[in-house]
């Protein structure tokens, strides 16, 4: 029962994020003043007011074979949101969290990769890539659909991914994605970030991340329920908008069954680290 409820929750996760985002553009929720009218008739004639020319073209209007404005330009960007060195007691980590996309206002192809390199053991703790088709579905939100592949931990796995990414009310950058692995295991990832300006260039960024799983997948140390939470606080200085070195703190805690599995393996269930890194985009 609990499992099914959680599956339901995860499938609806993108929808709940959107539902929580009350629109400021829905006139039904707002009070029109009395002098508004539908305005679909010409004064005194009773005929439907024609706003557009009747011989309109279906596509972007152009005369003489030229389109005057190209308002759906394709851009491409690479974003290294977190490229950082984390110092933990006895175990340092090089972490990357990067995204790149190419596309126009509505449709984008999105690439994401996240992972960690253990500097002492000289091996990857995790290494995942995602390739997503992203579609603008609401004023501030993109729906993303695609695949994720984990090269690490081994053996590697592939997932189907469905998520939403965008800007929540009060300026929270939110990214939430549900996954189904090739073995049918269902999980989800939620990330939220906020920029607090200490000055025009000195910016404090709290960050929250959590992983949730429906089924226990013991092989990967994944328990049922909330796996972990990761809290971060990064202070960056934007030398340019595109280049900002930062220092910060990161604290993570494994929870529930996931914590039990980790303890059974003799691992720590919580970790605290200092981070130093750069945030770049170009």
């Amino acid at each position: 029962m609990k499992t099914w409820l959680m599956i339901l929750f995860l499938t609806l996760l993108p929808a709940t994020v959107l539902a929580a985002d009350k629109s400021f553009t829905n006139p039904e929720e707002r009070d029109f003043s009395s002098h508004y009218h539908e305005g679909d008739t010409e004064p005194g004639k009773g005929e439907r007011d024609q706003k557009y020319a009747g011989d309109a073209q279906a596509a972007a209007q152009e005369n003489f074979g030229i389109q005057p404005i190209h308002d759906n330009e394709i851009f491409a960007v690479f974003r290294g949101d977190r490229l950082e060195y984390q110092t933990k007691e006895g175990e340092d980590i090089l972490l990357w969290d990067v995204q790149a996309w190419v596309g126009e206002d509505y449709n984008k192809l999105w690439f994401k990769s996240e992972g960690a390199w253990l500097t002492h053991e000289e091996k990857f703790e995790g290494a995942e890539v995602e390739l997503l088709y992203s579609r603008n579905i609401a004023t501030f939100w993109d729906l993303q659909l695609g695949i994720r592949h984990d090269f690490r931990p081994e053996p590697s796995r592939t997932f189907a991914a469905l998520g939403v990414q965008g800007l929540a009310p009060y300026w929270f950058e939110v990214e939430t994605t549900g996954y189904i692995s090739e073995d049918g295991d269902v999980s989800a990832n939620l990330e939220a970030e906020y920029d607090l300006l200490l000055s025009q260039r000195l910016i404090l960024q709290p960050r929250f991340q959590t992983h949730i799983a429906i089924q226990e997948v013991e092989e990967y140390g994944v328990g049922q329920g909330i796996n972990d939470i990761v809290l971060g606080l990064r202070l960056r200085y934007e030398i340019r908008r595109e280049f900002a070195p930062y220092v910060g703190l990161s604290w993570s805690r494994k929870l529930g069954e996931t914590a039990d599995l980790a303890e059974a393996e003799g691992q720590d269930i919580d970790a605290f680290s200092f981070v130093i890194g750069i945030k770049v985009w170009f």
Partner: protein
């Protein structure tokens, strides 16, 4: 993508060889004669009826730094095009930008047959590299106007200049000297790069955002509850109250007649003379607030058309607007012409002086203003949620609200009901306000008189019918976060077709600004008469609309054809705030 910085040297030399730097020969700077510093004004130069204009890559030097501009006849700004009312004129425009798709010149504010209006893809196919297009029309008006390229971002890189027309029957006022004052904004960045930056990060150039310390400052001033309420209201909408200009002094050098503030363009006068200053805002994105400390300015023309003289100390000039003012310095001293950008990040500056080399004191920039929720009719959001969102309050369906009698028409604007979640529309203003009596954000509190649109009363003949045949509403919409700009929630390429105006009808057009920014809205090919309560409403070609504002204009479309209608902030236009109007 073509970079203005890496044009081929060969093209440049070719252009030079063709003898295109006629005006530049007289000066170390690539400037036209009318814009030289310490010149004595354009009076009494004679109008001509034929001009040859060549758009080409030309060197520009701003504060000692060199770059390549898309100059006209080798200069930025371009040459003065000086015409006479009633003349049949021929303007040959040649495109020497060999790596472009096309170039063009649009005669801003001039009533011409639609094939002469110069918007590629609307009026003609543009001027391909190497080609010349002959513009031919009869000049039916007088006053101060300007011209600029309507092809991509050529305007940002220098393809603009003043256009003045002498009246057939003489000016309605006297003056001793005559100076065009062309305000513009220059960037050493490629405009394609600027466009990319603002698309990827809307606040890329804004270094005046509110910080944590501003929050504490507001708490001590306004109290904790109000401050948090205000921050929450803006945060909920994902709007910024300090998003005043997309592109700022971070990349711009603000220019007056092609001169940076340190280069200090100077106009000469003899004390006691009456000087006509023709302010022309040829910027790509900068709205300016203009004043001359120590002098009263008598506004005598707006957008080239005569208005009842009104004396002010400051006026806001939206992008593409023009104002003619008369000043009369009686003392033997220098006066600073100070044009602050709306966001207060920088200024353009020049000097009026009895002798070259004199300088007046340059004022400090005023603090960057903050928009108030009340400005967009959302003041109720601070205390307990949004006024009007509460369904209980609505009671019996429609709560009766007073119709502001200053908003014309029996019914006012048609309400805007976009599809829910339309990414083009981040906000809908449910109760747009009449704001023509408001000088604009950050103005009016300095203890001096600032021009408002209500001050403009036409003194021109009123040739058009006074009976309104039809009403139409156009909503100005945007999603700043995604850098999408549109009309009626549709970018240019998403409209099903052109807006339809009927030939010679009298149309009342409501413009409702549902965004958080000022937009200078420009209609080609016909006048908009602003309904500001005056019995003779002023003629405008460009109207700076304020956030949350509704205004109406009366239009008589006198020429059949397709016409451009757009926001004159260059990057908003290219992002979709553009439409074609078909007069049929």
């Amino acid at each position: 993508m073509s970079s203005i910085k890496d044009i081929s040297r060969r093209d440049f030399i070719k252009a030079t060889g063709a003898g295109l730097f006629l005006a530049g020969l007289h000066c170390t700077l690539p400037l036209p004669a009318w814009a030289f510093t310490a010149n004595t004004g354009i009076k009494p130069t004679a109008p001509k009826s034929r001009y040859d204009l060549t758009i080409g890559y030309s060197p520009i030097r701003i504060d000692g730094r060199k770059a390549t501009a898309t100059g006209i006849n080798g200069t930025v700004p371009g040459p003065l095009v000086h015409l006479r009312e009633g003349d049949d004129v021929i303007l040959n425009v040649t495109n020497r930008l060999m790596d472009t798709e096309h170039a063009s010149i649009h005669w801003h504010g001039i009533l011409v047959p639609f094939r002469m209006d110069g918007v590629p893809g609307v009026n003609f196919r543009g001027i391909p590299p190497g080609d010349t297009y002959e513009y031919r029309y009869r000049v039916k008006q007088a006053g101060s106007y300007w011209y600029h390229s309507h092809s991509r971002f050529q305007e940002q890189t220098g393809a603009y200049g003043p256009l003045i027309i002498d009246p057939k029957d003489g000016d309605p006022f006297d003056y001793d000297r005559d100076y065009p004052v062309v305000l513009s904004d220059w960037s050493f960045e490629d405009p394609e790069t600027i466009f990319r930056h603002v698309n990827l990060m809307d606040h890329y150039y804004n270094f005046q955002r509110r910080t944590l310390w501003d929050f504490f400052g507001d708490v001590s001033k306004r109290g904790f509850k109000d401050t948090v309420g205000e921050r929450m209201a803006w945060g909920k909408m994902r709007m910024s109250p300090v998003d005043l200009a997309d592109v700022t002094n971070y990349t711009y050098t603000y220019l007056m007649n092609g001169h940076s503030p340190t280069m200090n363009w100077t106009g000469i006068f003899n004390p006691g003379e009456k000087i006509r200053l023709r302010f022309i805002n040829a910027s790509s994105t900068t709205n300016y607030d203009v004043r001359i400390p120590g002098l009263n300015m008598e506004v005598v023309m707006a957008d080239g058309k005569a208005v009842r003289p009104v004396t002010v100390h400051e006026f806001r000039i939206g992008v593409a607007e023009t104002y003619d003012v008369l000043v009369r310095p009686t003392r033997d001293q220098a006066f600073t012409i100070f044009a602050e950008s709306l966001d207060r990040s920088g200024y353009a500056r020049g000097t009026l002086a009895p002798e070259p080399g004199m300088e007046g004191p340059v004022p400090e920039l005023r603090p960057r203003p903050v928009r108030q929720l009340e400005d967009i009719g959302m003041g109720g959001m601070v205390h307990g949620g949004m006024a009007g969102m509460n369904h209980d309050k609505m009671g019996h369906g429609n709560k009766m609200r007073e119709h502001d009698p200053r908003i014309p028409g029996p019914k006012g604007p048609t309400p805007f009901k976009p599809d829910k979640g339309n990414p083009n529309v981040a906000m809908v203003i449910m109760n747009p306000k009449y704001l023509l009596d408001n000088p604009g954000l950050g103005l009016g509190g300095d203890g001096w008189r600032v021009l408002t649109y209500e001050d403009l009363v036409s003194t021109e003949p009123q040739p058009y019918s006074t009976t309104v045949d039809r009403e139409m509403t156009i909503n100005i919409t945007a999603n700043m976060e995604r850098y999408m700009f549109s009309f009626d929630g549709k970018k240019f390429s998403e409209h099903p077709g052109p807006y339809l105006f009927h030939h010679n009808e009298r149309l009342r057009l409501f413009l409702v600004n549902h965004t958080m920014m000022e937009h200078p809205i420009h209609l080609h090919g016909m006048w908009m008469q602003l309904e500001n309560g005056a019995s003779k409403p002023p003629f405008k070609h460009t109207i700076l609309t304020k956030p949350g504002e509704v205004l109406s204009v009366l239009i008589t479309p006198i020429e059949k054809g397709d016409w451009a209608f757009h926001c004159h902030l260059l990057y908003h236009m290219e992002a979709g705030m553009f439409q074609v109007v078909r007069v049929a």
